[in-house]
Symmetry: C2
Subunit: 407 residues, 2 copies
């Protein structure tokens, strides 16, 4: 399925920003501050102005992130592309990366022209291709792209990237937010449901964090594939809110939605047995982003030979694995890290993302609720940083996503 190539009318929108050849990335102060608009504006041989949320040391985002303006040289290497961000989500992993507690980290570089070497934050985005180098094969200006792997730096208005760091996305019928959020959470849900156990039609999985991006994606994909699901959510502020959440997830296709309290209560495994026709329908898979005691309770609901896949640890408590579950119930424990998977499985990532976006286009895969944070040229650093720290404090109103200019 070749992507539709939309070539913007470059000639009509060119305007000079600088006149001289200078280093490709510099601290050059732009002569004119201008809003980002849908079309790329630059002069012949002109520099592109970019703003980015960067950090020069690891720490809390509120302490270490700052908004930095830099320029990107017009002399594009042959295998590089100039990109403009359309939408870039704020994922928990992005924050852990800034804090320095995440194993994949971008190198701090002097190329951004910050006082001390720094890195651009963010790992996921929907980009629009502005210009391509002479040797670029798969992209044309106007195409949409996502990062192939983490550490590209996506909380940025414009960025230059190598072709092999990107995956082209068929943009027709999709929004930038849909494309900009497909590569991490829905991809994680897709692979966890497919790659660990062969959960057949009419068989079950159980998951916690069911209202998260991954959880919602798993509910929907699982239902499309004929799976049944037991979905665990944390209690909301009020019973009404909890009930509303249950209904929302049932609307997405959740078979059962239970609170953590209900999971931990005596007799829950009998309840599961009843749902699974006395255990004849297997609960083959558990998806865990919590950890600690509630996860041990979830493990008890797995059938013999079941598999618990961990992709997060929100409770910040290790998993307690009873010896008997391993030996006698033959329960297996694995982890899933979409970054590692993406680096090792490029073709499969392309296919996975393509399939999810096809479902999105067909109206069969609902968007995750997001809280859009508008990022214009004049948006204040404070606004952007608050969006990041707000993500730290909880996702109840939906995931934070930077949306750029007039996208």
């Amino acid at each position: 399925m070749p992507p539709i190539s939309v070539r913007p009318a470059f000639a009509s929108s060119v305007r000079a920003l600088t006149q001289n050849a200078t280093p490709r990335v510099s601290q050059l102060t732009p002569r004119v501050s201008q809003p980002i608009t849908r079309r790329f504006k630059s002069g012949p041989y002109g520099y592109t102005q970019a703003k980015a949320l960067v950090y020069s040391q690891n720490g809390e985002p509120c302490d270490v992130l700052f908004l930095h303006t830099h320029s990107i040289s017009p002399s594009l290497p042959s295998n590089a592309l100039l990109l403009r961000s359309l939408a870039a989500p704020i994922n928990p992993a992005d924050i852990n990366q800034i804090q320095g507690v995440y194993p994949s980290r971008p190198p701090f570089t002097a190329l951004l022209g910050t006082a001390v070497p720094s890195a651009i934050a963010g790992n996921e985005a929907c980009f629009e291709v502005m210009r391509v180098g002479s040797a670029v094969k798969e992209f044309a200006p106007g195409d949409w792209a996502i990062a192939r792997a983490p550490c590209l730096g996506t909380w940025v208005t414009h960025v230059e990237a190598q072709e092999d760091a990107l995956l082209r996305v068929e943009k027709e019928g999709l929004t930038p937010v849909q494309v900009g959020t497909v590569g991490v959470n829905p991809t994680t849900a897709y692979r966890m449901l497919k790659d660990f156990e062969n959960v057949g039609e009419g068989e079950w999985f159980i998951q916690n964090g069911a209202n998260s991006g991954v959880g919602r994606a798993a509910i929907q994909l699982g239902r499309l594939w004929g799976m049944k699901s037991i979905n665990i959510i944390r209690e909301r502020g009020t019973e009404e809110e909890t009930e509303a959440m249950r209904n929302e997830l049932r609307g997405l296709g959740a078979t059962h939605v239970v609170t953590e309290g209900e999971l931990m209560a005596r007799g829950f495994s009998e309840q599961v047995k009843e749902w699974t026709v006395g255990g004849r329908q297997k609960v083959k898979l558990g998806l865990n982003c919590v950890g600690g005691k509630p996860t041990s309770a979830m493990v008890k609901c797995l059938s013999d030979g079941g598999h618990l896949v961990t992709y997060g640890g929100m409770a910040k408590a290790p998993l307690q694995v009873p010896t008997a579950a391993l030996i006698f119930k033959d329960v297996k424990f694995s982890g899933f890290w979409v970054s590692r998977w993406s680096e090792k499985n490029l073709d499969e990532k392309r296919r996975t993302v393509g399939e999810i976006l096809e479902l999105t286009r067909a109206g069969m895969f609902a968007d995750v609720p997001v809280q859009k944070v508008q990022w214009d040229w004049d948006t204040k650093e404070k606004t952007l940083k608050e969006a990041v720290t707000g993500t730290l404090q909880g996702f109840r109103k939906g995931k934070g996503v930077f949306v750029f200019g007039d996208t």
Copy 2:
């Protein structure tokens, strides 16, 4: 490789025990108590006397085990064999089974003629075939056999069993103890080294309980297959004893032997890094029969993508699994239960046992140290029960194995 068939001279050793046809298994008191000898003694249509350690309820072996005499009818069903035990080990799982804390349990039966229904203890043995039913195909009198799966009841002098509950063993060049202890511990070690990760030549595994039956088997098989091993033992009573144990295991082929204290000390993972040439040689597999904190320390020594296989939980403490080990180090956690494996993989069990016994014959696989407990016809119940409770209290002098009559 067809087993050698050695047919005992039946005609010359027959002697009547009973004269009348009675139910196949009864409480009949034998007219003459006689020692078990190598050759089966019975008259035409005569009953076989058997003694067994049985239990009618779960509990501590010292409380619930008793020595029971019963008779086995001469009218053998067509697909059954009459067996005599040559050697039967006392495994920790046998004791857990008596205690009622082991998931596979023999049913309590009235057929033994006990006051209340009971089961024969023990799960592993080397049997000699005494007589075969008319439809038995693979066995002839004099052949040796082991149990195909647990719950056969092996702490017994004679037993009747179905052909499909047994595996024939080529006895040439082997002792009853070697054959009677091959099906659980060496088989467990063999399958754990083979079935979870592809540990290549020059690659490593790490294991605790290294001086156990499984541990010693893993050391030897691993060395034969070109693997290197880090072996964890508990500190002995004195430094000399600890050093002697290190030397003993090194003699079997252990690359490194460390105490639990050394494992838990700071800097041990640096030591492992040095041994593995800066981590370039992978530690792909961990074998765990302990649990608790020392096992967490062992997990830290695994390479990225490593696999911890649990087959026991001597520390009676759950495994603590840090989320990061699962997600970022991609460490996998599984269990291995030789009983389940054996039931599902009969042909492979036959092949595995055959290969280990071939190595034993060739002098390439050393026997596990055992403490033989002689079981003659007149051996007192107290002596047999003390052997069982002694196994509960520790294995320092070697595994307890019942050896019967003049074997």
